[in-house]
């Protein structure tokens, strides 16, 4: 069983939602990314999205875009991110989902990606600009490698499209909380619970909510309606603000922040 499936199965027994963090690999540098993920595991984070930045991130807000640009300015490549994943695996069994845009993996070669991702211990893929209808090539290589393929449902998704995400997703389904791009928001959208109930009625796989979630109250409020919650921009911003601290201090500080968010699921 894939680490993602195992995590959701265990949490289901415990009756608790999963807590996950997105971070942009290579911001401020790859070694910090590695140490952060290992510390997140210890701080109670259940799985991570490891972001490989793209020059034209159409689904991301300013915080993640700026982090991606900083990382790209340092020369981060997909091969480096795979290396870091391998280093994380030496120290931690936390499920890792690689999150990026299609051009990055298209250029790397899908076969190559499936082989390398499995080798370094990556458990799944989230591609921000890939819809199920365009995913045949990816599914053909991901399925035999037991790499989870996570697709999105949005507040705008019709019932048909929600069913399509259910059919093609493995690991979990990513429920975008807002009609919009990534970015921390002060409040959750008022109709989010209804949106999640509608998706729940049409699906059986774990539902994980992301985009805009930024505070322990948000995480807590979603814990009883979702199977998992992802915080991205709020953590990426913490990393940015701590970026002039020595690595150990940065890691400690950001892991503490992630730990507070994770505690809200318990």
């Amino acid at each position: 069983m894939n680490r993602i499936d195992r995590t959701f199965a265990e949490l289901k027994e415990q009756g608790r939602a999963a807590f996950s963090v997105y971070l942009c690999a290579g911001d401020p540098d790859l070694e910090t990314t590695r140490d952060l993920v290992v510390s997140f595991d210890k701080a109670g984070v259940d799985f991570v999205e490891l972001g490989m930045p793209f020059s034209d991130p159409i689904a991301d807000g300013p915080v993640i875009q700026a982090a991606g640009q900083r990382s790209l300015d340092r020369g981060t490549k997909l091969a480096d991110v795979l290396d870091i994943a391998a280093q994380i695996r030496e120290q931690s069994d936390i499920p890792i989902v690689l999150m990026t845009y299609y051009n990055i993996i298209h250029r790397f070669g899908l076969d190559n990606l499936a082989r390398e991702a499995t080798r370094v211990g990556i458990d799944g893929l989230i591609i921000a600009d890939l819809i199920p209808e365009e995913a045949d090539d990816l599914l053909a290589v991901a399925r035999p490698a037991d790499l989870a393929t996570v697709f999105f449902v949005a507040p705008t998704s019709t019932d048909d499209r929600i069913k399509l995400a259910e059919e093609t997703s493995t690991g979990f389904i990513y429920c975008v909380s807002v009609t919009g791009i990534t970015g921390a928001r002060d409040a959750l959208p008022p109709d989010l619970r209804d949106h999640l109930r509608r998706v729940r009625a049409l699906t059986t796989k774990p539902l994980v909510v992301g985009f805009g979630v930024s505070r322990p109250e948000h995480v807590q409020a979603l814990s009883d309606v979702a199977d998992g919650i992802i915080v991205g921009s709020a953590v990426v911003r913490q990393i940015e603000q701590a970026s002039n601290l020595p690595r150990e201090q940065l890691v400690e500080q950001v892991a503490a922040f992630a730990g507070e968010l994770a505690a809200a699921t318990r």
Binding site: D56, Q69, T156
Partner: protein
Amino acid sequence: MARPQQSTPDERGHFGPYGGMFVPETLMPALLELGREFQAARQDPAFRDELDGYLAEYAGRPTPLYFAARLSEVVESRVYLKREDLLHTGAHKINNTLGQALLARRMGKKRIIAETGAGQHGVATATAAAVFGMECVVYMGSEDMERQALNVFRMRQLGAEVREVTHGSRTLKDAITEAMRDYVTNVRTTNYVLGSILGPHPYPLIVREFQSVIGREAREQIVARERRQPDLLLACVGGGSNSIGLFHPFLGDESVDMLGVEAGGLGDGLGRHAARFLGGTLGVLHGDRTLVLQDASGQIARTHSISAGLDYAAVGPELVHLRDQGRVRFTTVSDDEALDAFSRLSKLEGIIPALESAHAVAQLLKMAGELPEIVIINLSGRGDKDVQAVAKHLGEELH
């Protein structure tokens, strides 16, 4: 009579291996709805009549097919200019924005957004928004805002909000990225009016349809003048809308050769040009799979052209498909050659072309003496917007 048209994409916009829909899920319902509305509108006589009415009385169609006698003499061929530069707002872009704005109105959307490089598409979108009473936001890279300052003023005067994009290469690519973000966020109230045959399906199809009026007119006009079809069609290629607009109605005419002209910029080397057919590799940018100028890790490359409207890292997927089929050929023209053509056409014919269109004229000049008998060039826009930039290039100060 138009022959049956070739080059039809499948239902999700694939032209062979190119095109498709590579977008965040949030946009999918809206894009599917846009596709359905577009199909309904194109078959609705009332929609077509209304659009034709605006094209005729507001934009100034049909545009003349002008026999350029002095230019013809120089290049030893019979050269016709399809005068899209004479349209309201000064370029072919208005053909598409009037169509898409009417489509938005039909869908009950009151806000339209656009990206712009040269500013022509932004001006044309702002114009359509004004005449139909819609709210309009245009995204433009800060580098383009500087080199096309006149168009920034025009857009604001027309009531549009121009939002400066300061990240990335600060040109058209980044403006599209920003417009897509706005669309993802405001998709319930907003239509994105894309300016070329780019992006996710159905845009390449919609823009082709609204621009094909160029070729339909040219096809009739040339037969009226010459009693036969032309031998060669020439057009500059940014995203590809003016070229497909001219080419598409001729695709079934086997004897008609078609040549697209890309921006060769400063010459060889990633970052020095916008020649996707020379330096591009298969990739996915802004919603479609096509030839993209990118580095070995899949990051989109910077591009360069003296002409803001050609300065983009990807090219319309349909054109790549037509290239593969051997139906359309592509070549490049450098900044200097385009600047030279800008001056030559001005002096030979009294027509100051847009720097984009000057690339097509430059290619004609390069082929002087080796041209077939009858050539049509799409003169996609006029050069008013470029005079400041060209003057600066020539070392002259304008006050």
